[in-house]
Subunit: 132 residues, 2 copies
């Protein structure tokens, strides 16, 4: 499988569309693991960075989740028909912002959890008022 050089869209968008279609087609059913970045890179004749860019779009669509050391998996509630990939530019922009924000919040939560492990326990204030 190769990308179409006549397509006006850049390769990473074409690859994203191809993967979306494959998911909708059921080639990668919900919960299944998508081929690794290296495999996709070889299969479609693009660099691994291009695969990463394409997967970022799918992640923004909420169709996949990436787990370091494991792989990339199709989300269980991935919609059929590619409804999420369409919509107004504003919708896409908001979705991407939400995705980045969600990832940032996740990493923040982990960092805070680690900090709490090494933090001395908060000193109990002497019977302070609990109102807000």
């Amino acid at each position: 499988m190769t990308l179409n050089p006549d397509d006006s869209r850049p390769p990473y968008q074409q690859l994203a569309a191809a993967l979306r279609e494959a998911i909708d087609r059921g080639e990668y059913p919900p919960g299944a693991q998508i081929p690794s970045g290296s495999e996709l890179s070889t299969k479609y004749g693009v660099a691994r960075a291009t695969v990463t860019s394409a997967l970022r779009l799918l992640r923004a669509d909420g169709m996949i989740v990436s787990r370091q050391g494991q792989g990339v998996f199709v989300k269980s509630d991935a919609l059929e028909g590619g409804t999420k990939s369409k919509g107004s530019p504003e919708f896409i922009a908001i979705t991407e912002r939400l995705d980045e924000l969600a990832r940032l919040v996740s990493s923040l939560a982990e960092r805070v959890a680690e900090l709490e492990l090494v933090m001395p326990a908060p000193v109990q204030q002497d019977a302070g008022p609990t109102n807000e």
Copy 2:
């Protein structure tokens, strides 16, 4: 200005935090143009791709807008009013909530980063459970 190698955050997140702080500090006021990718690359000693990654976070925060052939500009609510208000009231409301949330998360990220600098590094437990 150079990045801190002791910071546990990857360079692109450090750079994003530095740029966020510079914007909040008023070094790049609303509507102003941020130094070009090449300049930031030289100034902070990172690759341009790293600058791009950092700017993607700021874009996710809603702090900047990029215009190909022109540059990257600090987003100004007043400046953006003309083009951004072309959505349904629901879209505008969601965008505003997203903006506030992004700002809150950004401030949280900076506070966590400061805490991590003062805190002792978490010890790696070599006999811990590896399952989840």
